[in-house]
């Protein structure tokens, strides 16, 4: 299928290639562009499912900015029980691992969600979204180290599924939150989520977004996030999944050289619906053209 070995191991999970969607940018079957088979992806990560039903934030929820967009969608969700009963089965015919992203407003939410999920064999792994800037006070869990450690520790006890912890970039030192996640039992960290941001309408003299602030994503944040991945790679032994501004295979290669094991494509799925498959093909071709036989050979090369 590929010219080189693109497999990646995360926890006990092996992905056939390192490319997956960032949570919230690629959703249920009838809500995708459907321009390639989902089984082409290394894994599917669906929109974070909250512990309880939520409607999400007030409109407007998105605004375009230079080289990216700010979103304040606020995780509309049917709640974890309903998701497990009604939605999850839709994904089961797919020939690719399913990673369930979980959201909560407090530590107990995550603990309860994972109790409900338990070790459900339909799932390949769990991603704890501890970094959404648009839920609750807007202070992400992973910016409070004690809280981060508490959530991951509690969740770890509830499941044997591989656990990815999605960290916030809105923090002084990402190495601290990455290390705390590793110590509490995470199998990988996702670096990172959106950067808190806002836009003001100078005619209306008001914030554009209904939620006032949101999270910036897109190529605009890639250089900042690249450094976070680079730092994280040096501070922990578990894999780093890079997420931030990937729009082409060159971006992915750059992240692998910074130390990423796998990558997530976010809002560039919107600007180019073929982005993820083009990234997979581009990584494979780059490796072959540069006489590498496997992806693991370029991981962390920039260090």
């Amino acid at each position: 299928m590929y010219q080189t070995d693109l497999t990646v191991a995360i926890g006990g999970l092996t992905l056939k290639n390192p490319v997956m969607p960032a949570s919230g940018t690629y959703d249920y079957f009838d809500c995708n562009a459907n321009v390639f088979p989902m089984s082409d992806l290394g894994a599917i990560v669906m929109k974070s499912v909250h512990r309880y039903e939520r409607t999400g934030n007030l409109s407007p929820r998105i605004v375009e900015t230079l080289g990216g967009m700010i979103n304040a969608v606020g995780i509309p969700s049917c709640g974890i029980e309903s998701f497990m009963e009604r939605e999850l089965d839709h994904y089961c015919q797919l020939d690719t691992p399913i990673i369930l992203s979980l959201s909560g407003s407090q530590a107990e939410d995550y603990e309860q969600s994972v109790q409900i999920v338990a070790n459900d064999s339909r799932l390949a792994a769990l991603e704890l979204n501890l970094s959404c800037p648009n839920v609750g006070s807007g202070l992400p869990f992973s910016s409070d180290i004690a809280l981060l450690r508490d959530v991951v520790t509690r969740v770890r006890k509830q499941t044997k599924l591989p656990l990815l912890v999605k960290l916030t970039p809105n923090i002084t030192d990402i190495r601290v939150s990455a290390k705390a996640s590793e110590d509490a039992g995470a199998d990988a960290v996702v670096v990172s989520n959106t950067f808190r941001a806002m836009k003001i309408d100078i005619q209306k003299k008001r914030p554009v977004l209904g939620n006032i602030s949101g999270g910036l994503s897109g190529p605009a944040i890639k250089p900042q996030n690249m450094f976070l991945v680079y730092q994280t790679y040096e501070s922990i032994k578990i894999p780093v999944v890079a997420c931030g501004g990937i729009g082409c295979w060159q971006d992915a290669i750059e992240y692998f050289m910074a130390g990423a094991s796998a990558i997530q494509v976010g809002c560039c799925n919107f600007t180019n619906p073929m982005c993820m498959v083009e990234v997979i093909e581009g990584i494979d071709q780059y490796l072959k053209d540069n006489n590498y036989t496997s992806l693991s050979e370029i991981r962390g090369l920039a260090h």
Binding site: A33, S59, R61
Partner: protein
């Protein structure tokens, strides 16, 4: 469907308004009135997102799709510079179009300015099935009364106003007393939608409105383009995605 299409023509119609015709493989054939596409006619990240455009008309035999657009921001500015042979990427057709019943005898189409754009495809389809169309068009001046002549040529009764003190829906209010409209349609204007909602409440007029909203994905994934909707029975409000559940809605569902 995701296609790289070619610009056949991109002509200025009047001040700041252009009509662009693209050659497609499959999208034109699959398109229905009221549907939209996500469009990107430039390389790179400026502007970043694809843009939603309503389909002005589509010709399945020739494989062409036409957009009538007004230059308002960075995306439409780039589009205005496109020339014959340039590549434009399209994702679509997307969303739910205007419901059309083959048995409709009379239909009313209401549009203001650039909001008339998607009405062309609708009027073409309605008149082709021998529905008698009344078109109510308003604009700031004659230049922006798009498709007035075309609608007349297609056999529609066209009523227009360029007077800011006259609501074009006042003509419709008068006509509903003598014409049993099966359905009425509008696009883009909150004021027109409000007026259709009043007629719906007063006389039970079946009315559909097409909503506009900023979009990122156009396919329902990002949940960015929400609009408040109402349960007609309980009156309860909730969010709908304009791209996925819409962009066309029964007026009573989205106008409070």
């Amino acid at each position: 469907m995701y296609e790289t299409t070619k610009v056949l023509s991109n002509e200025k119609i009047c001040s700041g308004v252009y009509s662009m015709v693209l050659q497609t493989d499959k999208i034109a054939d699959a398109s229905a009135p009221g549907q939209f596409v996500m469009l990107k006619g430039w390389e790179g990240n400026e502007p970043f997102l694809m843009r939603p455009f309503s389909i002005n008309t589509a010709d399945s035999e020739k494989g062409t799709i036409t957009f009538l657009y007004k230059v308002v921001g960075d995306g439409t500015k780039k589009m205005a510079g496109l020339q014959h042979g340039d590549a434009v990427r399209l994702l679509g057709p997307l969303g739910n179009g205007f419901p059309i019943d083959g048995g409709y005898k009379y239909a009313a189409v209401v549009g203001r300015g650039i909001g008339i754009a998607p009405m062309r495809f609708l009027v073409e389809r309605l008149t082709a099935q021998d529905t008698i169309v009344y078109a109510y068009l308003s604009a700031k001046n004659e230049d922006f009364l798009f498709h007035k002549e075309l609608f007349e040529k297609l056999g529609a009764v066209v009523r227009t106003t360029t007077d800011p003190t006259v609501r074009v829906t006042s003509f419709l209010e008068r006509d509903v007393e003598i014409i049993p409209f099966d359905a009425a349609y509008s696009c883009g204007s909150n004021r027109l939608a409000q007026d259709l909602k009043q007629l719906h409440d007063k006389i039970g007029l079946t009315a559909y409105v097409s909503l506009e909203e900023h979009m990122a994905c156009g396919v329902g994934a990002c949940k960015g383009c929400t609009h408040t909707a109402y349960d007609p029975v309980t009156g309860e409000s909730f969010y709908v995605r304009v791209c996925k559940e819409g962009p066309v809605f029964p007026v009573e569902r989205v106008v409070g």
